[in-house]
């Protein structure tokens, strides 16, 4: 695999190695945050944003450590992360539908019920989804968008294009 600093794209193995992929059992239990913060950045916005103290850092430059037993998948960190590098996935419901929550800062504005193109980490169209929930973070003003997507795409979809 090409290194993420060559491609600008991170793969699941790298995320797993860094402790960012929860167990199957945890994923089945309900929504949970997926951090794609793979570089040591002097930043701790996620640490002080988390209402459940599920994210910790010893030094400000450490990679964040997520305690998946404390993370409720509430998504507060999604709208706050300066790197737009946090997502929430939910595969806990029966059937083929999963949910991805992601930060969004492009027009057209998403609204509940909007149909969107689903994009992967390289901007390739991988399908279509529907916005099930959207709000603007009160500090950053980024949209935090929850989408229903095919269940097998929750670890693939990382951006959207709202269809007018």
């Amino acid at each position: 695999m090409t290194h993420f600093k060559e491609s600008g794209v991170v793969d699941l193995d790298t995320l797993a190695r860094m402790g960012y992929v929860p167990s199957e059992e945890r994923l089945r239990r309900g929504p949970v945050a997926i951090y794609e913060c793979v570089e040591e950045i002097p930043c701790n916005v996620c640490v002080f944003s988390c209402p459940f103290n599920a994210v910790t850092k010893n030094k400000i430059t450490d990679l964040p450590k997520i305690d998946f037993s404390k993370c409720t998948g509430c998504g507060v960190c999604v709208g706050r992360c300066p790197g737009l590098a946090i997502f929430v996935v939910d595969v806990s419901r029966e059937g083929d539908v999963g949910y991805v929550t992601l930060p969004h800062e492009l027009l057209p504005a998403p609204s509940k019920g909007s149909e969107v193109l689903l994009l992967d980490r390289e901007g390739r169209e991988v399908g279509r989804g529907t916005v099930t929930k959207v709000y603007r973070d009160k500090i950053t003003r980024s949209w935090v968008v929850t989408l229903s997507v095919p269940k097998d795409l929750v670890m693939v979809v990382r951006a959207i294009r709202v269809i007018k």
Binding site: S7, E36, C43, C81, R121
Partner: protein, 476 residues
């Protein structure tokens, strides 16, 4: 000619002044009072601002912060850098197609002499941070800034800041600038002079000049926070309108709400290159590619991932060879380079773009600090020629301090910390070694050290020592 103004933006709201009319070469153009004149001209679809004096090549905006002179026009008969001149109703603007004349400047000047405790040169993060420390103390402070709005480059930063809570993490730069600007305007001991350039140090004092006045300032302490200017790059036709500094494009787009172009090539994948690419997408432009001569992305991965997920390619081991076009860029030529930076033959390709943005680093603005007589050293990792200073930010000239990009090319966060350190150092010198000031300064030094401990700051860490004077060892 279309209107290049951004109508709607996902994050920004552009607060424009009253609608006015300016005249460019006799043609009426719509503008908004108080906005950058250059932005108004560019917004109206005008590509050529002037011709070069000798070869008569077209020139247009490049830096948008008054550093390059590329946007110089005649306004009501007087040669003017249009980017840092606020638009006024009825302004008559003409191209300058030869050398500008100097004589008319003097007639407009009224002079004022100012004696002050502290002079701060530069209203960016570093200068504002020093001012904040000195706000409402018993020291008189004069802050001189050459821009229309206070805040330095923060006013165009629309992305969310990294860092820790006390260092504005999670906030957007332009919001921090607005907050500081309003806070400083309320300081009882502070005079802010905007739109004035400090042009030099003379026997009689420090000379600052604006369109209306000249100021001769005699300070006891000086903080020089003059920032940096954007580097250019050598390639064929690199002076063609449409080739712009990435920072210049940011000012145009994020401060004045004018789209720099529709199809853009970004050169350089450092944080500036990656961030501008994302901001172009937000403004509704298409980014055809980011080219990077090195085999790896220069900036933070998260900034790269943000544009990759919208399909923007980052072409590592690629460079720009040239641009073509008559009145502005119409296409760019890019090619692959090998590990020795040589172009690989046969890999040239043409990319249809109307704009090429250069994000190839910055150079510290050391002219003024050198005029003060401060010792400097050439340290490439810090951005080139930089002033030597103590850990407390004092230069080799006693009572002359530096802070921010001028001291080393870093970022807003470290500029703030250095500015605060310089502010406390002045308080300590002027008011004695009070426990409170000393503790605050030590904490800031520790914060700076921690911030620079990230792997991305390796170059700064490695070279910082080279720029240090021995503590207290001024008057070298």
């Amino acid at each position: 000619m279309g209107d290049r103004r951004i109508r709607s933006h996902p994050i920004l709201e552009f607060k424009r002044g009253r609608e006015i009319t300016i005249f460019f070469e006799g043609e009426p153009l719509r503008a908004f009072e108080g906005e950058s004149l250059a932005a108004a001209i560019y917004a109206a679809g005008i590509d050529v601002f002037r011709l070069s004096p000798t070869l008569k090549r077209p020139r247009a905006v490049f830096c948008m912060v008054g550093k390059c002179g590329s946007c110089m026009v005649r306004v009501n008969g007087i040669p003017t850098r249009s980017c840092i001149t606020p638009a006024e109703d009825g302004m008559r603007v003409e191209r300058i197609n030869d050398l500008p004349e100097a004589s008319k400047y003097e007639k407009r000047l009224v002079s004022e002499e100012i004696t002050t405790d502290v002079l701060i040169v530069g209203g960016g993060p570093a200068g504002m941070a020093s001012a904040e420390v000195l706000c409402n103390t018993d020291l008189n402070v004069v802050l001189v800034d050459d821009q229309i709005r206070l805040g330095g480059q923060l006013i165009k930063q629309t992305h969310i800041f990294f860092g820790s809570k006390e260092l504005f993490a999670g906030r957007r730069g332009f919001e921090i600038a607005e907050e500081y600007s309003s806070k400083l305007s309320k300081c009882s001991n502070m005079r802010i002079i905007s739109g004035a350039t400090v042009v030099g140090v003379f026997k009689e004092g420090v000379l600052a000049v604006s369109d209306e006045a000249k100021y001769l300032i005699r300070p006891k302490y000086v903080v020089i926070a003059t920032g940096a200017y954007e580097n250019h790059l050598v390639f064929e036709n690199n002076d063609l309108p449409g080739v712009m500094g990435a920072g210049g494009a940011q000012t145009l787009m994020n401060v004045w709400g004018v789209k720099p172009g529709n199809e853009v090539l970004v050169v350089g994948s450092g944080n500036v290159g990656l961030i501008i690419s994302y901001q172009l997408l937000q403004a509704g432009a298409e980014v055809k590619a980011v080219v990077e001569a090195l085999p790896r992305i220069g900036g933070w991965f998260v900034h790269a991932a943000k544009i990759r997920r919208y399909g923007v390619p980052i072409l590592t081991s690629h460079t720009i060879l040239g641009v073509n076009g008559t009145r502005r860029v119409e296409e760019a030529v890019i090619a692959r380079v090998d590990e020795n930076w040589n172009v690989v033959g046969g890999t040239e390709r043409f990319v249809k773009v109307d704009t090429v943005l250069l994000a190839v680093g910055l150079t510290p603005n050391t002219e003024l600090v050198r005029q003060f007589g401060a010792a400097t050293r050439y340290i490439p990792d810090l951005g080139g020629l930089v002033p030597l200073k103590t850990p407390y930010m004092e230069t080799s000239v006693e009572n002359v301090f530096v802070a921010g990009d001028l001291a080393a090319i870093e970022e807003a966060t470290t500029a703030f910390i250095e500015g605060w350190i310089a502010g406390y150092s002045i308080l300590i010198k002027a008011r004695g070694e009070r426990e409170e000031y000393l503790t605050k300064r030590e904490n800031l030094l520790r914060m700076l050290y921690e911030y620079r401990s990230a792997p991305v700051s390796e170059k700064i860490r490695r070279s910082w020592q080279l720029s240090l004077l021995p503590c207290g060892g001024v008057n070298a």
